[in-house]
Amino acid sequence: MDFSTDVQASVLAVLPEILMTILAVALLALDVVWPDARKRDLGYVAGVGLLAVIGVMLVLAPPPGEVSDQLLLGGMIRHDQLAQIFRAMVILGGALSCLVTMGVPRLQHRGDFYAVLIVAVVGASLMSAAADLIMAFIALEMTSITLYLLVGYLRGDVRSSEAGLKYFLFGAFTSALTLYGLSLLYGFTGETNIYRLGGVLGRSDLPDGAVAVSLALVAVGFAFKISAVPFHFWTPDVYEGAPTPITTLLSTASKAGSVALLMRFFLAVFPPAGLLGALEGVKDYSALWVQLVAVLSVVSMTLGNVLALVQTNIKRLLAYSTIAHAGYILIGVAAISTDKSAEGAAAVTFYMFMYVLTNALAFGVVILFANATGSEQIADFAGLSRRSPWLALAMTLALLSLAGIPPAAGFVGKFLLFRAAVDANMVWLALVGIINVIIGLYYYLIVVKVMYMERGPEDGRPVRVDTPYVWALGIAAAGVLLFGTIMVSPLVDWATEAARALYILL
């Protein structure tokens, strides 16, 4: 297999990252140049800049199907539709995080914060395209290291600092485990390219045990990033302590990039035997990770949902909800090995897309509310529907989407995931998922109930919504609503095409 050396294609493949890096540097420069009074507009530069990057990316996107299997820049990057769609959601998540940052008084005027945030987005974006162990590792660390910083960015805030330290120790530890696993994989095959690894691994005469252990080590890192049980412990603490825009970023961009890498890595490095052209004597390790993913999925969904039932802090509740959603997503990941029609991967992609929008929406409202009232307690949301009907409606939409109730996009997402599981002969997994959806309903609706049914002490005093918020929440809400109703088909088509790219192994 040779890697393409097409210069133009190579530049195009990393153009979003290049543009974002320039944007980050520009922000640092502006931070120095601009007067203090104007610095809040840095958020616009960052947010709108990122949105523009998506625009450029989509305009210059390769026509569907044309370059779907191109490995570029020495095989570091695979420029395919999967990378495109995940990049789009990663950058979207970043843009929304930037916009909502403009409502946090202690961060809104800090160009360095926006710059570091954008670097995190660059990392996540590279994760969705990485096709080489080295690239994947660097991208993973790029996201992680910048996020450690961002989580602890509020210096005087004990909770932020604590969350930063915890996230750092947890992340550094798991990345060491992952790195060890990667070093073993490299050692066993002498290859670092993900798409070559699979073939070599399948035809080698390595002892199975060695491969299995390295797979387990690598899986820990991925499980940490998407906060699957039992590698989730950081999630509630960090979500609660981090500045809320960063919580948004953690649950959107960082997670999306990891999911893309996870699917690409598992499917290419440990492909089901059928995908390699059914050669004689090819070893099939896919059963290992499929089982692992299925089990992680079940425990994540169940524990996430059950523990969310007893939370009183909204950010913590959403953290446990994130863990549960990691479980739902893993349902789809478990389905990708057996299913050549790419339904599982398409379902995961769609789900992730809607999840990015939904979480950005939910956290956006939480930030606004926290700023207005200084509280993140669920009980304090009482009477929000009377104070700010639009805000309450946005939050309700987000919660409905998370709970999987139409017309929000979450319904379609869950439907696709469960269908993929059924098609992959994992009916039991789908059933566990459905039971979990029922449990989940309860705590999401409690928040809705509190907002609409209970009266707060400050009834009638509206929560102020700034312009950047109107944009951020508007984009997210429109996405959640449209992708759940009339825009479902285009997005599903895109996701399906992206998913097909996953199955083209070189």
């Binding site: 450690y148 909770r159 930063g164 490299y186 002498g190 960090v238």
Partner: protein
């Protein structure tokens, strides 16, 4: 030369020692040092595998070099976070940092 597995054995030992340190040391900086040990173990693996499997290529060395970079960045960030915590609490004992729970 020494057989390859001996290097791997040293790496495994270093990795396990580092892991023990992460799990058992109280001081956050000590935990950070232990993590460095784990990263070095991975590096020994990479370089040893490179030397024995494909010395004509550069993959393993490059990988190891990038691990250096990442480790440097990680240490810088980690120490910044730890110093930050220290300023607030006058303590860097990891177990004491448990405001956020449940």
């Amino acid at each position: 030369m020494v057989p390859l597995w001996m290097y791997l054995l040293v790496a495994a030992g270093l990795f396990s020692i580092g892991m023990y340190g992460v799990l058992a040391r109280r001081n956050a900086i000590a935990i950070l040092m232990s993590i460095e040990l784990m990263l070095n173990a991975a590096n020994i693996n990479l370089v040893a595998f490179w030397r024995y499997n494909q010395p004509a290529q550069v993959g393993g060395q490059v990988f190891a070099a990038f691990v250096f970079v990442v480790a440097a960045a990680e240490v810088a960030v980690g120490l910044a976070l730890i110093i930050n915590i220290y300023r607030q609490r006058r303590s860097v004992v990891a177990d004491d940092v448990d405001l956020l729970k449940w």
